[in-house]
Symmetry: C2
Subunit: 358 residues, 2 copies
């Protein structure tokens, strides 16, 4: 993705590995400061996923793949059985970071499977270094294809609503929901993006807005409450969101609030598209109630997080000290509200996904 | 309403007049600090409405009524024609504070009508002092009746969702949406309230939560994105909101996000009730598109307002400095999403309102 530095524009990925260090764009510091964070061992990478230094399903997947490689590279002995025990422990720890995004489990399984042909520690380390890099490259490539496949759905001067950040920052690069918007902009279609701020962590107003600023794509931020009003007024032509998990009948698990936008889109006859790569499809999951919906710390709701450079405190309480909160981080959008799913292979009706990828 | 001071509980109204000073609970300081604000002349009262020191349709109405009385009391001469010119100017200024809530126009008109029988400045001043006090008393009384009429809709241990603050703080006392919840609590029904935080100004997490803390009513705060998820999971039994204006066919203008909750409630077969007194009914307004929807300053969206005592700055920016925002403050919920309207006269279907009150 493009990142502006004064008058210069540099190219960045959200997460990458150099030597045994996993680097990532430090997302809680955006939009006020652009910094990268380097995690020196797999436990630091695990902490970065938990604390949402990196977030977004495909980005979590790639970070987890690098984490598995890091765990292998950290192993100092030569005993292959000790190594395998070490890797089993690392696998468990990495999978135990966040429960909802399928890409995490998909990536870790893929790395552990790749390692199976290895007969020694050296060989396993070498395989995992290459496999994790390949995973990240392919993940970026899939998002680029999602952009090309989704681009025809965006007409000239289309007004697109998106929720949360399913952009380059939520992936290795390009984004899922934002990839077709980027492609439409490059194509001269001049899209306009309404960004749901996406409480509680404001990935919309903080991250999606930041990405669109970098690319000079026209946009404005709205509170999550305002999308329905604008839909009813005819100011929104289509909705595109990403996904954390899509099950075999096309139900979509995504950031809390996605279900609300999907219901409102159908009520107002506005197409509702979900953009997601294969790593998001969980065909073991038949019914949506099998998916664990992460409930995060109530402080995310009770405090507001800004990290304005003029306010190092970074948070202000917006509720009485006696009040508590519920904080489900994701919701489930049943397949009947989803118009199409945009994938690296093409654009499908939700019910076609399991036939195509299953 | 009850307000806790250490171990003592005192009774307060949201707005009242002593001498020629209009006092109000200083709402932007809640929930962190309970303070009252006294406006010494009608222009200060106008500023307090504009800056949302006082907000909520019935509270704005009563404040405006006191503002009209203040304007009269401020007049120093004896020339009745000069007085009437002064009052006309004051009327215009007071009506020009906020465009959406009907109570404002209803209250100002009522005061100006009351004054018509006066033949002198003294007489007009005396009439308006009494009439504004009567307006506030009757407004409080109507809300108390809304509580009694709405209470049977709340079953034992019902889980109620509310949006924004349609509580005592949005009225002179008792509240509209919160009045039936208060009545149910006094009746031992043990309701549980889910409070939408209600971005951008967080009237839910700041004000409704504060009111429920004062009365020890069980509650939790959720982000506006989470209500749909909880409805779909069967965790919400009914929704009650207030209104800023209800037109002759029962369309409801209320805080931005109300329309979203109403659509989601119908989609999940959950009753959606609107609680409002007669002062909210605008029968001159036939189609919803006649209502002016206030668009407020984009900074309300781009910054977060907390006023945590440890952070006197009071706001943190949550968006890139290059990004703008749209900030419609209200939306329109068409009558087909409204199950019943709870009034001081009883509970009606939306289509019955104009027959009963028109």
């Amino acid at each position: 993705m493009k990142v502006k530095f004064n008058s210069e524009v540099r190219d960045y990925r959200t997460v990458w590995m150099e030597g045994s260090v996993v680097y990532m764009i430090d997302q809680p510091k955006l939009p006020h400061r652009f910094e990268t964070y380097g995690s020196k061992d797999y436990r630091e990478t695990v902490a970065a996923i938990k604390n949402m230094v990196v977030r977004g399903a495909p980005a979590i997947g790639a970070t987890a793949a690098f984490g598995v490689a890091q765990a292998a590279l950290e192993f100092k002995g030569k005993d292959f059985r000790d190594f395998l025990r070490h890797m089993e422990k690392a696998e468990k720890t990495i999978k135990n970071t966040r429960p909802t995004a399928y890409d995490l489990f998909y990536a870790v399984k893929k790395m552990m499977d790749e390692m199976r042909i290895a007969g020694s520690v050296d060989e396993a380390q070498s395989i995992l270094r290459k496999a994790s890099q390949k995973y990240a490259d392919e993940s970026a490539g899939r998002c680029r294809l999602i952009g090309l496949n989704g681009e025809p759905l965006i007409k000239d001067s289309a007004r697109v609503l998106t929720h949360c950040n399913a952009g380059a920052l939520g992936c290795v690069d390009h984004g899922t929901a934002l990839a077709p918007i980027r492609a439409a902009e490059y194509d001269g279609k001049n899209p306009f993006v309404f960004i749901d701020e996406t409480r509680p962590r404001c990935q919309g107003s903080r991250l999606t807005a930041w990405e669109l600023v970098q690319e000079d794509i026209k946009h404005c931020i709205i509170v999550d409450n305002a999308a329905g009003y604008l839909m009813r007024k005819g100011e929104i032509d289509l909705v595109i969101v990403g996904a954390d998990r899509i099950n075999s009948n096309g139900d979509v698990v995504n950031k809390i609030g996605t279900y609300e936008k999907a219901v409102l889109a159908r009520e107002n006859s506005i197409p509702f598209y979900v953009a997601a790569p294969e790593s998001t499809f969980d065909f073991h999951c038949k019914t949506v109630d099998d998916v664990e919906i992460e409930e995060r710390d109530e402080d995310e709701v009770l405090y507001m997080w800004g990290l304005d450079p003029s306010n190092e405190l970074g948070r202000v309480r917006i509720a009485p000290k006696e009040s508590g909160a519920r904080n489900p981080a994701f919701d489930i959008t049943p397949t009947e509200y989803v118009s199409k799913i945009i994938t690296e292979e093409g654009v499908y009706k939700p019910e076609e996904i399991s036939k195509r990828f299953g």
